[in-house]
């Protein structure tokens, strides 16, 4: 499947969406007069589509809903216009680049501030900062931006390519300029989506916390895509000035950001082409409804109603709906055998021999140690002065009755929560307070008690996210290479899938897996980061007895390569797996020994059964 030679067929397949776009856009001018369109409308649609490409990367793919994109659209537009008016240059290309760069720089500043809060706050903050740009534009910067009048007299674009110059003097010429810019912008966006960087973006949208937990530097990824979206907006803004020969202050309006959001939802977020289609619908409806007497003034209200209905019952939008329909039609013959083979899966024959009751005690070097680890919540001490050492290759179980502090202790090991006092050392380095992302990068990975998977992505993509964190590090903006052509990553995915017995389910969306399979994927995600130490938080939680037996075997196979700490309530699992067991009770460590010794330990019995019962059974 490696496509290196420029065979025409392979090239055509690789660029199929771009070729389709170019064909449609090339035919369009011939059709335009018949459907009541003009070059001017087509140009605006393309400009909005370009603006929307960046927004779709930000919202559709990364899940960051920004209401402040107008800030960058306006900033790019005014900088580009000013460059041509001043004039610093008469080459439109230079002006457009200047506008794009300016928008990207503002993107860094606003992104840094807005991304300090997630979710709902992010939408509020981007909206607020977007308004700030509007107010900056209309008054303090009015000397350069013309305030409420905007910048008039933007010259017709003259594109200088060094050796030659192209002068564009009519709307038709502008149309071709926009087609070229849009198709290139579309291609770049599509490459980003298909790149390792794009995979991490989708991971963030699906499950931000887990993306960070497998070792991706989420804030940096978010900021990078925010800046990219700002750059797209800046470029589109610059082109707007060229289109109109005038840069209006409306570019900064809240309505501009809102219109972008609405168009993207109508067209379909997460499809890249959606914003363009949405813009076409918006501008077409606008033109159409304006001409109908009686409802002309209501056109925007009608759009609002359509928008609310779409969000409520057809959230995917036009293109998203089309994609789903297309997939369903294509996938129809396939599913029957796949489901059948999967449903046979759980009961596996050939149980491996049980671990001999006594493995030689591990003698490798200490890899993980805690010193006087304590966690207090107000007056409650959840974990009290626990010191423990873990040797290489060991399987250690941490047990204790409910409320003993197991989960708190465990979360401190993974750096999910910081300790009140005490330290955690990994390979001799103090890792206290590094945070889950960096700790995972160093080689400690955690699987969660409650599944933290990426539900709408396939098993392959789920594992890919974790493998990428290992092979690409915590942040690497690799945007232009195709992620599925990275042989090392693919090998990592296959290996991880094999070790958790999901090799046959690689192309199934994680949400459609059976519960036991999701549980294995959960472990697989932790395993795919190739950790030195694997922390398993109740891996068999919620499983049937048969599945538990399976899981124990699976864990035993995994254990040949890694050191494991496991928190578990099921004593069969604990005693079937562990080399040594640490017992916590009321936040204290009350025992640490081999399974046999723990079974005989009177303190442990007392802790589990209450002292009364311990006396009776003795």
């Amino acid at each position: 499947m490696t496509v290196r030679a420029a065979r025409p067929a392979a090239l055509a397949r690789r660029f199929a969406p771009e070729i389709a776009l170019i064909v449609i856009l090339a035919i369009l001018p011939a059709i335009l007069p018949h459907i009541g369109g003009t070059y001017d409308i087509a140009n605006r649609i393309l400009d909005w589509g370009l603006f929307g490409l960046g927004f779709d990367l930000l919202f559709g793919f990364t899940g960051l809903l920004s209401f402040g994109q107008a800030a960058f659209y306006g900033a790019g537009g005014f900088v580009a216009a000013y460059f041509l008016i001043a004039p610093f240059t008469n080459n439109a290309i230079v002006a457009l680049i200047a506008g794009t760069v300016a928008a990207a720089i503002f993107g860094v500043i606003i992104g840094y501030l807005s991304l300090r809060r997630a979710g709902i706050y992010f939408a509020m903050l981007t909206l607020a900062f977007g308004e700030m740009f509007f107010f900056l534009d209309i008054s303090p910067l009015a000397r350069w931006t013309g305030g409420e009048n905007g910048v008039a007299g933007v010259p017709e674009p003259s594109l200088g390519f060094g050796l030659f110059t192209i002068d564009i003097t009519d709307p038709g010429g502008l149309y071709w300029l926009l087609v070229v810019v849009f198709v290139v912008g579309f291609w770049v966006a599509r490459r980003i989506v298909a790149s390792p960087f794009g995979t991490v973006l989708r991971a963030i949208r699906e499950n931000t916390a887990r993306t960070a937990a497998v070792g991706h530097d989420v804030p940096k990824y978010k900021l990078t895509i925010f800046v990219i979206a700002a750059a797209y907006a800046g470029l589109a803004g610059g082109l707007l000035g060229l289109l109109q020969g005038y840069m209006p202050p409306d570019a900064f309006y809240l309505d501009t950001s809102g219109q972008l959001v609405v168009q993207t939802i109508i067209g379909g977020a997460g499809t890249l082409i959606g914003p363009l289609v949405g813009a076409a619908v918006w501008l077409y409806l606008y033109t159409l409804l304006q001409n109908i007497a009686g409802i002309g003034a209501l056109w925007k209200m009608i759009l609002g109603i359509i928008f609310v209905l779409l969000v409520t019952i057809f959230r995917r939008g036009l293109c998203g709906g089309a994609v789903v329909l297309w997939r369903r039609l294509r996938a129809r013959p396939a599913p029957a055998p796949a489901v059948a083979s999967a449903s046979v899966k759980p009961t596996r024959a050939a149980p491996e021999p049980r671990r001999s009751t006594q493995r030689p005690p591990p003698t490798g070097p200490v890899v993980l140690a805690t010193r006087n680890l304590t966690k207090r919540y107000g007056g409650l001490t959840a974990v009290d002065d626990v010191s423990f050492e873990l040797r290489e290759g060991e399987i250690r179980a941490v047990i204790g009755p409910n409320g003993a502090g197991k989960s708190t202790f465990f979360n401190m090991l993974a750096n999910v929560i910081p300790p009140t006092s005490g330290t955690i050392e990994f390979n001799g380095d103090n890792i206290t307070g590094l945070g889950a992302t960096l700790v995972c990068q160093r080689g400690i990975s955690k699987s969660f008690q409650i599944n933290q998977i990426f539900p709408s992505l396939t098993v392959r993509d789920n594992l890919r996210i974790a493998v990428l964190a290992r092979s690409y590090g915590k942040f690497r903006p690799s945007m232009l290479r195709a992620v599925d052509r990275d042989a090392t990553v693919n090998a990592g995915i296959d290996a991880a899938a094999a070790s958790v017995q999901l090799a046959e389910r690689l192309d199934t969306p994680a949400a459609e897996l059976a519960y036991g399979e999701k549980r294995r994927l959960e472990i697989g995600l932790a395993l795919a980061t190739q950790p030195q130490i694997l922390l398993l938080d109740e891996p068999t939680a919620g499983m049937s007895p048969a599945e538990r037996v399976d899981t124990v075997q699976l864990l035993r196979r995994i254990a040949s390569g890694v050191t494991i700490v496991i928190v578990e309530h099921d004593m069969d699992v604990v005693f079937g797996l562990a080399d040594r067991i640490t017992v916590l009770f009321n936040g204290h460590k009350i025992a640490e020994d081999t399974p046999d010794a723990i079974q005989a330990n009177p303190d442990v019995r007392a802790a589990y059964l209450g002292s009364q019962a311990a006396h009776e059974s003795a």
Binding site: F59, G63, L65, F67, L113, R116, R117, A118, G119, I120, Y121, A123, M124, L125, L127, A128, F129, E131, M132, F135, L136, S139, P140, A142, L254, G258, V261, V262, I265, A297, L298, K300, M301, L303, G304, I305, F307, V308, V311, T312, R315
Partner: protein, 291 residues
């Protein structure tokens, strides 16, 4: 040179504007804290309240009736929106909730534009509040003093509802831990309805009482929405005192900067928000770690 009377008059302007922002932001923050929904239509509801007051005033020439009409009308609109739409969104992602309330805002604003046109309307200040009061440090319009009093009274009432009634207890519990309130078997759907309707009512009421100071236009809610976002970010979400302090700070920043350098008054507000985000991302009265 800035004279003392001008300075004090701006301080009072800041107080009046701040008080209104407190009232609007309070609705926003309580709805968000309890329902988990950021209402992007909150500004439109504020505008709708002003129009409801305008219509009622046109029929009765009574400002008191206008205030009552604005509040009552928005209470009903709030009930309709919650029952008809928001209710469907409690289980959906936060982004969808934002999108749908944003859509509602478009419909409301455009509906107002279609019904009343784009021209600015005005509700005159009531006759009992006409004239000017001599505050010794400055001369100040009576109506604005009354606004301050009316808003303060509403806030005291709201405080009483939130901190002294069963509903308030549930609302505050919901802000702390929504799941737990559900588990305790409290009928949250009815609480949600009440809270959303109260939030809409607060916005509508604020719209009427601000109408004599500003003009009534379909877009009048946009600025107030943005400013109340800033208030919520500065004060911290779900916090009564956060909204109060945030609102007053915002009002004073707007009014005092306008006196010194009018071009920067709005910009300064956002600068203050940026400062809070850098130094204390959860807001002045916000609790760390709550999303």
């Amino acid at each position: 040179m800035i004279s003392w009377p001008l300075f004090f008059s701006q301080v009072f302007n800041g107080l009046t504007l701040g008080a209104l922002l407190v009232l609007v932001a309070m609705g926003l923050t309580i709805v968000f804290g309890t329902l988990g929904v950021v209402n992007f239509a909150h500004g439109a509801l504020y505008g709708l309240g002003a129009y409801a007051g305008y219509v009622a005033y046109g029929y009765t020439n009574s400002f008191v009736v206008a205030m009552a009409a604005g509040a009552l009308c928005l209470l009903i609109v709030g009930i309709i929106i919650e029952r008809g739409l928001i209710r469907l969104y409690y289980q959906r992602p936060a982004e969808d909730q934002i999108l749908v309330t944003f859509g509602v805002a478009i419909i409301l604003v455009e509906g107002m534009r279609a019904a009343f046109g784009g021209l600015a309307r005005n509700i005159p200040a009531p006759s009992w509040a006409a004239g000017i009061v001599n505050l010794h440090v400055t001369l100040y319009p009576t109506y604005r003093i009354d606004v301050l009093a009316i808003v303060s009274a509403s806030l005291v009432l709201l405080y009483f509802v939130l901190y002294r009634t069963r509903l308030g207890l549930i609302v505050r519990a919901g802000i702390e831990d929504q799941l737990m309130v559900n588990i305790l078997g409290i009928n949250v759907t009815r609480t949600f309805l009440t809270v959303f309707a109260l939030g809409a009512m607060a916005a509508g009421f604020a719209g009427v009482i601000n109408a004599p100071i500003v003009t009534v236009t379909p877009d009048m809610g946009a600025d107030i929405l943005v400013q109340s976002f800033v208030v919520v970010v500065i004060g911290g979400v779900g916090s009564f005192w956060g909204a109060v302090v945030g609102g007053l700070i915002a009002g004073e920043i707007l009014a005092l900067t306008a006196m010194i350098q009018p071009a920067y008054s709005q910009v300064m507000l956002f600068a203050a928000m940026a400062l809070v985000l850098i130094l204390r991302p959860q807001g002045l009265f916000g609790v760390e770690g709550r999303q």
